[in-house]
Structure formats: C-alpha cells, structure tokens
Symmetry: C2
Subunit: 190 residues, 2 copies
C-alpha cells in the first residue's frame, strides 16, 4: 500500500514496518478524478500532498484573468502552498489534478502529530525540503541564463514524461510561452 | 556568543543551554573581510553558512562574462549551493562577502554529526528549508506577474535594509535590470 510513498521515504531514512503502520494513521488518502481541486484561491492550504499516482498542477489567476501555472507534480513529488499551509493564511493558488490521481494528504495537525511520533520523518522532510530548495536554485539560474527556447528544449529533454503527459498549453503557461510558440518548438524538434 | 544564531533556532525549536554547548562543537566560525570568498565556481560547496553578522551574495558568471547575482543573505539567513553541498558536486556559483562578516559554517560531515547528536536540529532545518521553499514559491510568482519596475518597487519596500546596505549595481544584477534603470527608479521614488 502506498508503495511510491514508502519507497520515497526509505530512499532517505530508515523506516521499519512497525513505523510504516504508525505512519498510515496520519495519512488521508484521496482518490481523485481529472480536474478535481485540492485548493482554490482564497482558501487555506489545509494539507501537504504527495502524488502516489497521477499528476497535479498549481496555478494562479493573473490580472489578465489567465491561468498562470507555477508548478507541476508527478509521482513522488510533494505539492503545497507552503506559506499558506504553515502560517494558516489564504492562498492565491489553485491546486488541481491533471489526471485521475491517488494523493496522500497530511493535514497541518496530522503532519505535526506524525512528526512528534516519528522523528525520523523530520529528517525525511528536511532532506525533501532541502532538495526542493536546491531545485529552485537551479530553476532560478536557468531563468537568468536561458532564452525561452533554450528553457523549453532543456525542460523537454530533462522531463520527457511531462511533455508526454501534460497538455501542451499547460507547459506553455508554465514556461511563460504562447501555446503557438511551443507548438512551433515541438515541430522544430521532431 | 552567536546570539543571532541561537535566537533563530529558539524561534522554532527548544534548545537548552546544554544542547547549545554541544552545538558549538560542530560550528566553524569565520571572521571575513569585505570581498572574501566562501565558494568559487568549480569548487564543491563544502559548508552551509549562517550569517551571524554581515552580508553575502551568490552569483555566477554568465556567457557574456557578467556577474549574475541570484541570492543575497543578511543576518539570520542561510546560504549554500544546496545541490553541490548535498551531492558533493562542483558548483557553478561564487559566494562572497559584501561587508565585513561573521559567518557560522557547518561542513557536510559536521552537519551530519550535529543532526545525529541533536535531533531537534532536524526539526529546525526542516522548518528553515520549508520556509525557504515557501519564499521561492512567492518569488517565482512575482516573476510571472510583476513588471521589472513593480519588482524593484516591491523589493525596495519589502527589504529596505538591502537597498541601504547593498550597492545599487548588485540589486540591479539580482533583479535583471541595468544599473541605469535602477538609478532612474530610485530617483522616481524619492
């Protein structure tokens, strides 16, 4: 059960079967269809979400009323508006499934209780968060040094699964490109 | 001793005086002049650095041989190339003091040993890293929705201390603006 989640934890910390059983007490499993929402603008991000199976996107509505995508999450990835989750503040974001998905949620209170009972999970989340900081440093560097075309080429080479699974207009939104331009870049590549 | 560091830890976790004494065993304190380097391109980022006093910048050399600043750190902030630090890989970055600074360093091995001896520090770093992820989500959102002028105005309102302490051309580099443009924006504001 939840094999992607357990194998992801065991990549970083020891977790015996007894601890796995304890961990399961704190998880809220969610089976969602395509286009279901975990968070809407103005709500508090009540949980952090692990993608056991499926795909999520995070976006906000910009002042021209466009959906601006800021993050995706496939299997093994975490998703949350962390300031909203930690500080209990309304979020500017939407989090929505792109595919039928199996999501594991920790509410703020179950997250705290779980960390108190299983201190090795503090280590797991410290490592996961530190790697997320590292990834954002790298992404930030790319935005300084790459043209939008280079960014697309890099993105589609580094994450071929995304390009297969995620609609082209969503990748365009994430990269700050028009769908037409992404379509041209894709043809160029083929 | 190291009062900024200890008060920052105690903001998030309990740390009694005995634990503080244990913690000090793992710290390498560094007193640096202005324009000294903690990391240069091609080196491995050997430590993570806490700014007890002073100011750091992180930058890389772009393909036009310009210094492109990606991060600053004032008092209470952590600085590292996290992928380089965690995965022992050469860094593309430089980390340099902007002012005379007092820096507390944890090498990779002292960091690990400290976390094993003081598990509450896993919790501290999990919270610090999670807040860093949250801050990068926010910064990322701004780059999608703000013009460069709005970004500067927001930056100088949110971080007035930076604008006082950091040379104008460095703020321009960080924001992806020309120094001339930042100078115009500053005059406009006055």
């Amino acid at each position: 059960m939840y094999s992607n989640f357990i194998s992801h934890i065991r990549k970083y910390v020891d977790l015996d079967d007894n601890s796995v059983a304890l961990l399961f007490k704190y998880i809220t499993p969610l089976k969602l269809k395509r286009k279901e929402f975990l968070l809407k603008e103005g709500q508090i991000c009540q949980s952090i979400y692990f993608v056991e199976k499926g795909c999520l996107r995070m976006y906000f509505i910009d002042d021209k009323l466009n959906e601006q995508i800021t993050q995706f999450a496939l299997e093994h990835w975490w998703m949350a508006d962390h300031f909203s989750f930690m500080d209990n503040k309304p979020s500017p974001y939407f989090i929505e499934t792109i595919e039928k998905s199996e999501i594991l949620a920790f509410t703020a209170s179950s997250f705290e209780a779980m960390l108190r009972e299983l201190p090795q999970m503090e280590r797991y989340f410290r490592i996961v968060m530190q790697r997320a900081v590292a990834a954002s440093q790298l992404r930030n560097k790319y935005t300084y040094e790459m043209s939008k075309e280079e960014f697309y080429q890099h993105f589609s080479t580094s994450f071929p699964e995304f390009v297969q699974r995620v609609p082209q207009y969503m990748i365009a939104s994430y990269l700050g490109l028009t769908p037409q331009y992404v379509s041209e870049l894709r043809k160029k590549k083929l």
